[in-house]
Amino acid sequence: MIKRIIILMLVILGVSFLQAMVPAPGKCSGDDEYALGIKNLGEYMLIKDYRISLASGSANNPPMVSFPISLTAGLKYKFIPINHPDNKSKLVMKIFVNQKKEMPIASSYNSSSSKHYPSVEFECKTTGTFYLFFFFADGQKGCGVGLFTVSK
């Protein structure tokens, strides 16, 4: 009886340890993705990086996070989503004029062709505050990093 309890304990501890090692969405540090993205900035300079981790949801209304960003007229920006290798769907970066998701101005996903792009450029002519949204297509869970960069 005692042996069985001890074995059970060891099994539970083992499972718990293994679970801690798996990069669940909430535990994804994004360090590898960040390092990958930063190496390929080319003519762009980093403004900010966003570490994103989202649980699954419905395809029609996928879980999202958003952040206000400032864009300056006359500058060219690039938004680069970098996915964790375990992601089943791709991270999308989409910019709207306000937090209510009215009037998208740029997106790394073209819904008409269902095509994801490794980055999206935006040539800004209006100085102001915009909102950068992150979500995974089809409402899948996943994690990754978004880079907000500006052209030199």
Binding site: I47, S53, T72, T127, T129, V150, S151
Partner: protein, 302 residues
């Protein structure tokens, strides 16, 4: 024997609790930034964390401000930047935070305009201020000075500076020190607005006058936060920027939002902004704003 079983049950309970916590990490609401936004308001100035976070995130970086001026082929002289001598004029932690933001902005201009030989002095000044604010552990000053001395490493220096400031800002937010973050942002903005004002004063061009006018949104946001604070230092800043707020009220900025044009160029998705900004302001009003900006910056930072 009973004790072994008791210990086993305790261990099992801890393991189960650990697993529950581990499972919760997958929830979207557990995103660290979301947590910070949802957290209690711990600032000493009674300004909501959400408002401060929004404000901080909605300000352009010094790099963008410098690039915008440089792309317009405007001349810039480093003589107008803050002196790195006698930084003991900044006494309180609030003044030091403001100064740190301003020197960070100056460093952005120096980097973008290729005046990197001056950067080590600015790094040394930022180092002194960051030590006093207990924020020096976010900067690898030795490495940054080394990069500044080697002109081949400018891109790496800019990236490292950006990363350091971003990490410092995230740390201040984690620790509920939003008032310091806010003052760093204010210092950054004020120094940047001053450089824009100085360049515009010399250029007297439509393009630079528009850049001056476009600071209206930032002045309005700062004024809203500073005037709502009960902190004496914040109230002093609110009083000092009030003349600028009044001047900006005389001008009107009309933004006509239009759908962007999407193009695929060599496999790269490009969106071109088609929105328009119409600025209703007389040259006289803009020149008054320029003078007021320079006066406030010199009073608070010089």
């Amino acid at each position: 024997m009973k004790q072994i079983i008791k210990h086993s049950i305790r261990l099992l309970s801890f393991t189960m609790i650990g697993m529950v916590i581990s499972c919760n990490n997958g929830n979207p609401a557990e995103n660290s930034l979301e947590n910070q936004l949802a957290g209690p308001d711990t600032t000493s100035t009674e300004i909501s964390q959400e408002e401060i976070f929004e404000l901080i995130e909605s300000f352009p970086t010094p790099l963008e401000m410098a690039l915008a001026i440089k792309n317009g082929n405007n001349d810039f002289t480093s003589d107008i930047l803050l002196s790195t001598d006698s930084i003991d004029r900044f006494i309180s932690s609030y003044e030091k935070a403001m100064a740190m933001g301003a020197y960070g902005a100056d460093m952005g201009y120096l980097n973008i305009y290729g005046k990197v030989f001056l950067v080590p002095d600015y790094l040394a000044t930022i180092r002194l201020l960051s030590v006093d604010l207990d924020l020096d552990n976010f900067f690898d000053f030795e490495k940054m000075i080394e990069m500044a001395e080697n002109s081949d490493n400018i891109d790496s220096l800019i990236q490292m500076s950006t990363e350091s400031f971003n990490q410092m800002e995230a740390h201040l937010r984690d620790k509920g020190r939003d008032e310091l973050s806010l003052l760093i942002v204010f210092g950054t903005w004020l120094e940047g607005a001053y450089v824009i004002a100085d360049v515009a004063q010399k250029a007297q061009s439509k393009e630079m006058f528009n850049r001056v006018a476009q600071q209206k949104d930032f002045v309005t946001k700062l004024d809203k936060i500073f005037t709502s604070s009960h902190d004496d230092f914040f109230k002093t800043i609110a009083a000092k920027i009030q003349p600028l707020v009044d001047l900006y009220e005389q001008i009107e900025i009309e933004i006509i939002m239009k759908e962007s044009t999407m193009e695929e160029i060599n496999g790269q998705l490009v969106f071109i902004d088609n929105s328009e900004t119409i600025i209703h302001a007389s040259d006289d009003d803009i020149n008054k704003i320029i003078n007021s900006t320079i006066e406030i910056r010199n009073e608070l930072l010089k």
